[in-house]
Amino acid sequence: MKLLSGEILANKKYGSSLYKLEVFSPYICRNAIPGQFVEVKCSTEDATDPLLRRPFGIYEIDKRFNVFSLLYIVRGKGTAFLSRMEKGQNLDFIGPLGNGLKFDLDDGKKYILIGGGIGIAPLCLAAAHLAEKEKEILFIAGFKDNVFFSWEKDIAKITQNYRIFTEDGSFGEKGLPTSYLAANIKKLNNSIIIACGPSDMLRVIQEILVNAHGFTALSLLEERMACGIGACMGCVIKIKEADGTVVYKKVCSDGPVFNLMEVIFE
């Protein structure tokens, strides 16, 4: 991990509040693995509000041009600032951070990537990585509405094997990605599931898998962060370890990838 400054090559609007930010950074492109994230300074150099960096999963890496990108939703002050940044300006960020996804590519398993809302962002890098290694993947995405409409062209470039669900049916199929998972759980077995999204979604997946067999389930978690590098203990979540002991683990440095079945949701 390093403190970096990278030129912004594009900051494209994908939907009403959805943006894709492309940044030049050979270091990230060389070193980052899927599931890792960067912590971005979202204020001008001299201003102290917003104060803390904001974490974003890495969405795409294009090694040819040394460009990586983030896909983000405007939520509050920090992301609003980000959405106003322009081509040619420099992004101040720290990365790559977190443990990331380490794949055993010889295990002969299928991969099911299941994302809710902006949770699809880090999964796309994982999908691209797996597709490149010619692994079999199924990408299941769920959204509230059609804000992610123009994102479909990005996933279609990676795989044709994807399903999109929206709660209101305005984009893709009407329904929930978790319902799809539940309905097809038998047929999908012997897979590695990687999930990222709202904790309600993750909890439902956990429940589905408790009674299923033949799955490894990983999840990418979010928690508010201060340092982003494991120093402040700010970003912990509860994990029930294999031996039954319950401990706090840091999302930023022990995660963001955790065994979904060990996560305690409260």
Partner: protein, 313 residues
């Protein structure tokens, strides 16, 4: 590298019998043991690395969420999660030594007994420490913590008992949440402390207006960062003026100008905390900035500079 920096003595200071190479420390709980930050710069350059506060046994800390951002500040309710003093002795000390860090060990106990037991444990390695900081001011624990500052009488025994056990400069870290800093400093001095470190965080809270739930599971937390700088600076100035003990100043320091402001207000050294999260190399930059300032102002030692604003006001 300029004159003041080259001539190491220009930036050095002593607290008790320990010599520090410069007045830029990092604050307990914001830098862990420094290993993470060493990826960004050489932490042996720091005046000192103050460790996360260690208790006798492992502490799991408070439930999450533990942090919440506010205007120019942040609330935390970590609750002193730490692996216990044995972890420091068996694992962390050695890593920090390898990196060449000058160490201030922060310790925490919920009563005099716990503090004594920790002191006994560190006796064997006391030579490895530049100082021990007693965290008597954590707002996020039920026992001990800032209760000491609410009732400063309890500070005396803790300090004197530890002083009996270990022979390391003792720093007492105090809370701004009670109007007891001066009284606590006097008691600390009488009982053998070598310096006071202020301020720990200011208690604050935040609520979610949709769910009515507190933003921190612990309901309240400690406010740190630039928002509290004027308050911290006032406490430092007021205490330093009394000339009871040397004061290590902290609270919102985010650039070398802030650091200089604390030094001229009377701090003998300063601590960088929350700012590390925003810019992980800031403490190194602050050392350079102070040196540059001293050159441009014609100061050849810290002594000439510390407390300048007290003399002028």
């Amino acid at each position: 590298m300029n004159e003041v920096l080259k001539n190491n003595k220009g930036l050095s200071l002593t607290i008790g019998k320990s010599l520090f190479k410069n007045p830029v420390f990092v604050n307990s709980g914001t830098f862990a043991g420094g290993v993470e930050y060493n990826a960004f710069f050489d932490i042996s350059k720091l005046g000192a690395v103050t460790t996360k506060s260690f208790s006798l046994e492992k502490k799991e800390g408070n439930a999450p969420p533990r942090i919440w951002e506010t205007s120019s500040g942040m609330l935390n309710s970590i609750g002193l999660q730490n692996e216990g003093i044995n972890y420091f002795l068996d694992t962390q000390l050695c890593k920090m030594k390898e990196l060449g860090a000058d160490i201030i060990l922060s310790i925490f106990g919920c009563d005099t007994e716990e503090f004594k037991k920790i002191a006994a444990k560190i006796k064997t390695i006391e030579k490895e420490l530049k100082a021990v900081e007693l965290n008597l001011s954590c707002p996020n624990v039920r026992e001990g913590g800032m209760a000491f500052c609410a009732a400063p009488g309890q500070i005396g025994p803790v300090v004197s008992e530890i002083k009996n056990i270990i022979d390391v400069p003792l720093i007492v870290k105090l809370s701004p949440n009670f109007n007891t800093i001066i009284e606590s400093a006097i008691i600390s001095k009488e009982n053998g402390a070598d310096a006071i470190s202020i301020i720990n965080t200011i208690t604050g809270t935040a609520f979610d207006i949709e769910t009515f739930k507190p933003r921190l599971a612990n309901i309240s937390g400690g406010l740190s960062g630039p928002a509290i700088k004027p308050v911290a600076l006032f406490h430092v100035y007021r205490l330093a003026k009394e000339k009871i003990l040397p004061v290590i100043g902290m609270g919102g320091i985010s650039c070398w100008q802030d650091a200089v402001e604390f030094l001229i207000a009377g701090a003998c050294a300063i601590g960088v905390g929350t700012a590390n999260f925003i810019n992980p190399v800031i403490s190194e930059k602050i050392i350079e900035g102070i040196a540059g300032y001293m050159v441009s102002m014609g100061f050849s030692s810290l002594d000439e500079m510390v407390g300048k604003a007290i003399k002028e006001s």
